[in-house]
Protein backbone atom coordinates (compact mmCIF):
# COMPACT_ATOMS: atom_id res chain seq x y z
CA UNK A 1 0.00 0.00 0.00
CA UNK A 2 1.61 3.19 -1.14
CA UNK A 3 -1.17 5.75 -0.75
CA UNK A 4 -0.38 8.33 1.83
CA UNK A 5 -1.98 11.47 3.02
CA UNK A 6 -1.43 14.15 0.37
CA UNK A 7 1.53 16.31 1.29
CA UNK A 8 -0.40 19.55 1.12
CA UNK A 9 -2.76 18.36 3.83
CA UNK A 10 -1.58 19.66 7.16
CA UNK A 11 -3.18 17.38 9.72
CA UNK A 12 -1.40 19.32 12.42
CA UNK A 13 -3.61 22.30 11.58
CA UNK A 14 -6.62 20.40 12.89
CA UNK A 15 -7.82 20.81 16.44
CA UNK A 16 -6.93 17.80 18.62
CA UNK A 17 -7.05 15.10 15.93
CA UNK A 18 -7.04 11.65 17.59
CA UNK A 19 -3.72 10.29 16.39
CA UNK A 20 -0.50 8.67 17.39
CA UNK A 21 2.93 9.00 15.87
CA UNK A 22 1.94 6.85 12.90
CA UNK A 23 -1.06 8.97 12.02
CA UNK A 24 -4.77 9.27 12.72
CA UNK A 25 -6.45 6.52 14.71
CA UNK A 26 -10.02 5.37 14.24
CA UNK A 27 -12.46 3.53 16.42
CA UNK A 28 -14.78 2.34 13.68
CA UNK A 29 -14.80 1.97 9.90
CA UNK A 30 -17.25 4.85 9.36
CA UNK A 31 -14.76 7.19 11.04
CA UNK A 32 -12.11 6.24 8.50
CA UNK A 33 -14.67 6.65 5.70
CA UNK A 34 -15.58 10.15 6.85
CA UNK A 35 -11.88 10.96 7.11
CA UNK A 36 -11.15 9.60 3.62
CA UNK A 37 -14.06 11.51 2.03
CA UNK A 38 -12.76 14.74 3.52
CA UNK A 39 -9.23 14.21 2.23
CA UNK A 40 -10.60 13.22 -1.15
CA UNK A 41 -12.82 16.32 -1.49
CA UNK A 42 -9.98 18.55 -0.41
CA UNK A 43 -7.70 16.92 -2.98
CA UNK A 44 -10.25 17.87 -5.66
CA UNK A 45 -10.10 21.47 -4.53
CA UNK A 46 -13.67 21.51 -3.21
CA UNK A 47 -12.48 23.35 -0.13
CA UNK A 48 -9.20 24.55 1.28
CA UNK A 49 -7.66 22.92 4.27
CA UNK A 50 -8.09 26.15 6.18
CA UNK A 51 -11.83 26.09 5.45
CA UNK A 52 -11.97 22.52 6.63
CA UNK A 53 -10.05 23.17 9.84
CA UNK A 54 -12.32 26.13 10.59
CA UNK A 55 -15.48 24.10 9.95
CA UNK A 56 -14.27 21.32 12.23
CA UNK A 57 -13.16 23.73 14.92
CA UNK A 58 -16.61 25.36 14.83
CA UNK A 59 -18.31 21.98 15.41
CA UNK A 60 -15.98 21.11 18.26
CA UNK A 61 -16.52 24.52 19.84
CA UNK A 62 -20.30 24.13 19.51
CA UNK A 63 -20.13 20.72 21.17
CA UNK A 64 -18.06 22.17 24.02
CA UNK A 65 -20.58 25.00 24.38
CA UNK A 66 -23.34 22.40 24.73
CA UNK A 67 -21.35 20.93 27.60
CA UNK A 68 -20.42 17.67 25.87
CA UNK A 69 -17.37 15.91 27.30
CA UNK A 70 -14.25 16.58 25.27
CA UNK A 71 -12.64 13.17 25.64
CA UNK A 72 -12.27 12.42 21.95
CA UNK A 73 -14.90 9.68 21.86
CA UNK A 74 -17.24 11.80 19.72
CA UNK A 75 -14.56 13.46 17.64
CA UNK A 76 -15.57 11.90 14.34
CA UNK A 77 -19.25 12.61 14.91
CA UNK A 78 -18.29 16.27 14.97
CA UNK A 79 -16.03 15.65 11.99
CA UNK A 80 -18.98 14.20 10.07
CA UNK A 81 -21.25 17.11 11.05
CA UNK A 82 -18.58 19.56 9.83
CA UNK A 83 -18.32 17.69 6.53
CA UNK A 84 -22.10 17.69 6.07
CA UNK A 85 -22.22 21.43 6.74
CA UNK A 86 -19.35 22.15 4.40
CA UNK A 87 -20.78 20.20 1.45
CA UNK A 88 -24.06 22.05 2.10
CA UNK A 89 -22.35 25.45 2.30
CA UNK A 90 -20.47 24.69 -0.92
CA UNK A 91 -23.82 23.81 -2.53
CA UNK A 92 -22.62 20.34 -3.44
CA UNK A 93 -25.36 18.51 -1.61
CA UNK A 94 -28.34 20.34 -0.08
CA UNK A 95 -29.07 19.17 3.44
CA UNK A 96 -32.60 18.07 2.45
CA UNK A 97 -31.14 15.74 -0.15
CA UNK A 98 -28.76 14.31 2.41
CA UNK A 99 -31.61 13.75 4.89
CA UNK A 100 -33.72 12.08 2.23
CA UNK A 101 -30.90 9.77 1.20
CA UNK A 102 -30.20 8.78 4.80
CA UNK A 103 -33.90 7.96 5.24
CA UNK A 104 -33.83 5.90 2.07
CA UNK A 105 -30.86 3.86 3.25
CA UNK A 106 -32.47 3.42 6.64
CA UNK A 107 -35.74 2.24 5.09
CA UNK A 108 -33.94 -0.07 2.68
CA UNK A 109 -31.90 -1.61 5.49
CA UNK A 110 -34.97 -2.16 7.65
CA UNK A 111 -37.02 -3.60 4.81
CA UNK A 112 -34.30 -6.02 3.76
CA UNK A 113 -34.76 -9.51 5.19
CA UNK A 114 -31.72 -10.92 6.86
CA UNK A 115 -29.74 -12.90 4.34
CA UNK A 116 -30.15 -10.41 1.50
CA UNK A 117 -27.79 -7.56 0.69
CA UNK A 118 -29.11 -4.06 1.32
CA UNK A 119 -29.61 -2.19 -1.92
CA UNK A 120 -31.39 1.04 -2.70
CA UNK A 121 -34.34 0.70 -5.07
CA UNK A 122 -33.45 1.77 -8.60
CA UNK A 123 -34.24 5.40 -9.28
CA UNK A 124 -36.11 6.60 -12.37
Amino acid sequence: MTTSIPREVDLGALPALPRDKEGPVFNAPWEAQAFAMTLSLHARGVFTWREWADALAAELAAAAARGEPDDGTHYYEHWLAALEHLVGAKKLIPSEELERRADEWDAAARATPHGKPVELPRGP
Binding site: M1, T3, S4, I5, E22, G23, P24, V25, F26, N27, A28, P29, W30, A32, Q33, A34, F35, A36, M37, L39, S40, L41, A43, R44, V46, T73, Y76, E77, L80, L83, E84, V87, L92, I93, E97, L98, R101, A102, E104, W105, D106, A109, R110, T112, H114, G115, K116, P117, V118, E119, L120
Partner: protein, 210 residues
Amino acid sequence: MSDYDHHHDGEHDRPLSGPALRVKALESLLIEKGLVDPKALDELIDTYETKIGPRNGARVVARAWTDPAYKQRLLADATAAIAEFGFIGRQGEDMVVLENTPEIRNMVVCTLCSCYPWPVLGLPPVWYKAAPYRARAVIDPRGVLNELGNEVPEDVEVRVWDSTAELRYLVLPERPAGTEDWSEAQLAEIVTRDAMIGVANVTLPARSPK
Protein backbone atom coordinates in the same frame (compact mmCIF):
# COMPACT_ATOMS: atom_id res chain seq x y z
CA MET B 1 -27.60 -26.60 0.20
CA SER B 2 -27.17 -28.23 3.56
CA ASP B 3 -23.85 -26.53 4.18
CA TYR B 4 -25.52 -23.41 5.38
CA ASP B 5 -26.71 -23.14 8.93
CA HIS B 6 -28.07 -19.80 9.88
CA HIS B 7 -26.12 -19.33 13.08
CA HIS B 8 -27.08 -16.13 14.74
CA ASP B 9 -29.16 -14.90 17.60
CA GLY B 10 -29.70 -11.18 17.19
CA GLU B 11 -30.85 -9.32 14.15
CA HIS B 12 -29.41 -6.22 12.58
CA ASP B 13 -31.83 -4.02 14.49
CA ARG B 14 -30.59 -0.82 12.94
CA PRO B 15 -27.88 -2.07 10.64
CA LEU B 16 -27.03 1.40 9.40
CA SER B 17 -27.71 3.46 12.47
CA GLY B 18 -26.41 6.83 13.52
CA PRO B 19 -23.24 8.16 11.98
CA ALA B 20 -22.64 5.01 9.91
CA LEU B 21 -25.96 5.67 8.17
CA ARG B 22 -25.11 9.32 7.55
CA VAL B 23 -21.67 8.39 6.19
CA LYS B 24 -23.33 5.91 3.83
CA ALA B 25 -25.80 8.57 2.63
CA LEU B 26 -23.08 11.19 2.11
CA GLU B 27 -20.73 8.76 0.42
CA SER B 28 -23.35 7.45 -2.01
CA LEU B 29 -24.38 11.00 -3.02
CA LEU B 30 -20.79 12.18 -3.47
CA ILE B 31 -20.03 9.14 -5.62
CA GLU B 32 -23.16 9.65 -7.76
CA LYS B 33 -22.27 13.27 -8.34
CA GLY B 34 -18.76 12.28 -9.29
CA LEU B 35 -17.26 14.28 -6.44
CA VAL B 36 -15.36 11.38 -4.95
CA ASP B 37 -13.94 8.33 -6.62
CA PRO B 38 -14.81 5.15 -4.72
CA LYS B 39 -11.44 3.66 -5.68
CA ALA B 40 -9.58 6.62 -4.21
CA LEU B 41 -11.61 6.30 -1.02
CA ASP B 42 -10.82 2.60 -0.78
CA GLU B 43 -7.13 3.33 -1.24
CA LEU B 44 -7.14 5.90 1.52
CA ILE B 45 -9.03 3.54 3.78
CA ASP B 46 -6.66 0.69 2.90
CA THR B 47 -3.86 2.83 4.21
CA TYR B 48 -5.42 2.64 7.62
CA GLU B 49 -5.93 -1.09 7.56
CA THR B 50 -2.39 -1.39 8.74
CA LYS B 51 -3.33 0.90 11.58
CA ILE B 52 -6.30 -0.84 13.16
CA GLY B 53 -5.58 -3.76 10.95
CA PRO B 54 -5.63 -7.52 11.10
CA ARG B 55 -2.36 -7.72 13.09
CA ASN B 56 -4.41 -7.66 16.29
CA GLY B 57 -6.30 -10.79 15.26
CA ALA B 58 -3.06 -12.46 14.16
CA ARG B 59 -1.65 -12.07 17.65
CA VAL B 60 -4.75 -13.67 19.13
CA VAL B 61 -4.47 -16.63 16.73
CA ALA B 62 -0.75 -17.09 17.37
CA ARG B 63 -1.30 -17.17 21.11
CA ALA B 64 -4.10 -19.72 20.76
CA TRP B 65 -1.75 -21.90 18.72
CA THR B 66 1.02 -21.79 21.30
CA ASP B 67 -0.86 -21.61 24.60
CA PRO B 68 -3.49 -24.36 25.11
CA ALA B 69 -4.93 -22.65 28.20
CA TYR B 70 -5.39 -19.44 26.23
CA LYS B 71 -7.05 -21.34 23.39
CA GLN B 72 -9.48 -22.87 25.85
CA ARG B 73 -10.37 -19.44 27.22
CA LEU B 74 -10.69 -18.06 23.70
CA LEU B 75 -13.14 -20.73 22.57
CA ALA B 76 -15.12 -20.48 25.81
CA ASP B 77 -15.38 -16.68 25.95
CA ALA B 78 -13.76 -14.96 23.01
CA THR B 79 -14.74 -11.44 24.05
CA ALA B 80 -12.92 -11.79 27.38
CA ALA B 81 -9.91 -13.64 25.94
CA ILE B 82 -9.44 -11.05 23.21
CA ALA B 83 -9.81 -8.27 25.78
CA GLU B 84 -6.72 -9.69 27.52
CA PHE B 85 -4.81 -8.04 24.68
CA GLY B 86 -6.70 -4.80 25.14
CA PHE B 87 -8.56 -5.22 21.84
CA ILE B 88 -11.98 -4.01 22.81
CA GLY B 89 -14.72 -2.80 20.51
CA ARG B 90 -16.43 0.44 21.31
CA GLN B 91 -19.81 -1.00 20.40
CA GLY B 92 -19.54 -3.77 22.98
CA GLU B 93 -20.45 -6.50 20.54
CA ASP B 94 -19.73 -10.09 21.47
CA MET B 95 -16.98 -12.01 19.75
CA VAL B 96 -17.15 -15.70 18.95
CA VAL B 97 -14.12 -17.65 17.78
CA LEU B 98 -14.69 -20.55 15.39
CA GLU B 99 -12.05 -23.26 15.28
CA ASN B 100 -11.16 -24.83 11.96
CA THR B 101 -10.35 -28.54 12.09
CA PRO B 102 -9.46 -31.12 9.45
CA GLU B 103 -13.20 -31.90 9.28
CA ILE B 104 -14.75 -28.44 9.57
CA ARG B 105 -14.08 -25.17 7.79
CA ASN B 106 -15.68 -21.97 9.02
CA MET B 107 -16.35 -18.94 6.87
CA VAL B 108 -17.70 -15.57 7.97
CA VAL B 109 -19.97 -13.22 6.08
CA CYS B 110 -22.35 -10.42 6.85
CA THR B 111 -25.22 -10.91 4.45
CA LEU B 112 -27.06 -7.74 5.33
CA CYS B 113 -24.40 -5.09 5.55
CA SER B 114 -20.78 -5.46 6.49
CA CYS B 115 -20.62 -6.26 10.18
CA TYR B 116 -17.01 -7.12 10.83
CA PRO B 117 -14.87 -7.61 13.93
CA TRP B 118 -12.85 -4.46 13.36
CA PRO B 119 -11.10 -4.41 16.77
CA VAL B 120 -9.24 -7.56 15.68
CA LEU B 121 -9.34 -7.34 11.88
CA GLY B 122 -9.41 -3.63 11.10
CA LEU B 123 -11.54 -2.35 8.25
CA PRO B 124 -13.28 -4.88 6.05
CA PRO B 125 -11.80 -5.50 2.60
CA VAL B 126 -13.76 -4.23 -0.39
CA TRP B 127 -14.88 -7.70 -1.51
CA TYR B 128 -16.31 -8.46 1.94
CA LYS B 129 -18.59 -5.45 1.62
CA ALA B 130 -19.53 -6.21 -1.97
CA ALA B 131 -22.94 -7.63 -2.80
CA PRO B 132 -21.62 -10.70 -4.69
CA TYR B 133 -19.75 -12.05 -1.65
CA ARG B 134 -22.55 -11.14 0.75
CA ALA B 135 -25.15 -12.84 -1.39
CA ARG B 136 -23.18 -15.84 -2.65
CA ALA B 137 -21.30 -16.87 0.48
CA VAL B 138 -24.44 -18.40 1.96
CA ILE B 139 -25.81 -19.90 -1.26
CA ASP B 140 -22.62 -21.40 -2.62
CA PRO B 141 -19.80 -21.23 -0.09
CA ARG B 142 -17.69 -23.86 -1.84
CA GLY B 143 -17.99 -22.01 -5.12
CA VAL B 144 -16.90 -18.78 -3.50
CA LEU B 145 -13.98 -20.51 -1.79
CA ASN B 146 -12.97 -22.11 -5.09
CA GLU B 147 -12.97 -18.74 -6.80
CA LEU B 148 -10.81 -17.38 -4.03
CA GLY B 149 -8.33 -20.15 -4.77
CA ASN B 150 -9.30 -22.24 -1.81
CA GLU B 151 -10.78 -25.54 -2.84
CA VAL B 152 -12.27 -27.48 0.05
CA PRO B 153 -12.35 -31.30 -0.21
CA GLU B 154 -15.85 -32.78 -0.45
CA ASP B 155 -15.54 -34.57 2.88
CA VAL B 156 -14.83 -31.34 4.74
CA GLU B 157 -17.90 -29.58 6.10
CA VAL B 158 -18.18 -25.85 5.37
CA ARG B 159 -20.03 -23.76 7.94
CA VAL B 160 -21.06 -20.24 7.07
CA TRP B 161 -21.59 -17.78 9.91
CA ASP B 162 -23.62 -14.65 9.41
CA SER B 163 -22.38 -11.73 11.49
CA THR B 164 -24.75 -9.32 13.15
CA ALA B 165 -24.35 -6.00 14.84
CA GLU B 166 -24.22 -7.83 18.17
CA LEU B 167 -22.23 -10.91 17.28
CA ARG B 168 -18.98 -10.98 15.35
CA TYR B 169 -16.90 -13.95 14.37
CA LEU B 170 -13.21 -14.66 14.08
CA VAL B 171 -11.96 -17.87 12.51
CA LEU B 172 -9.15 -19.71 14.27
CA PRO B 173 -7.37 -21.27 11.31
CA GLU B 174 -5.43 -24.52 11.45
CA ARG B 175 -1.79 -24.15 12.39
CA PRO B 176 0.27 -25.18 9.39
CA ALA B 177 2.47 -28.25 9.67
CA GLY B 178 6.17 -27.52 9.96
CA THR B 179 5.77 -24.67 12.44
CA GLU B 180 6.14 -26.77 15.60
CA ASP B 181 9.26 -24.95 16.78
CA TRP B 182 8.09 -21.43 15.80
CA SER B 183 7.65 -18.70 18.37
CA GLU B 184 4.35 -16.93 18.94
CA ALA B 185 5.72 -13.81 17.25
CA GLN B 186 6.87 -15.76 14.19
CA LEU B 187 3.49 -17.43 13.92
CA ALA B 188 1.64 -14.11 14.17
CA GLU B 189 3.44 -12.96 11.05
CA ILE B 190 1.99 -15.65 8.82
CA VAL B 191 -1.64 -15.33 9.95
CA THR B 192 -3.55 -13.43 7.28
CA ARG B 193 -6.75 -11.43 7.37
CA ASP B 194 -8.36 -13.77 4.85
CA ALA B 195 -7.55 -16.79 7.01
CA MET B 196 -9.33 -15.15 9.94
CA ILE B 197 -12.40 -14.46 7.77
CA GLY B 198 -12.21 -18.10 6.78
CA VAL B 199 -11.64 -17.79 3.04
CA ALA B 200 -8.00 -18.91 3.10
CA ASN B 201 -5.69 -21.31 4.92
CA VAL B 202 -2.56 -20.20 6.69
CA THR B 203 0.38 -21.33 4.60
CA LEU B 204 4.09 -21.21 5.09
CA PRO B 205 5.85 -18.39 3.28
CA ALA B 206 8.31 -19.38 0.56
CA ARG B 207 11.04 -18.23 2.89
CA SER B 208 10.75 -18.88 6.59
CA PRO B 209 11.02 -15.88 8.89
CA LYS B 210 14.42 -15.39 10.40
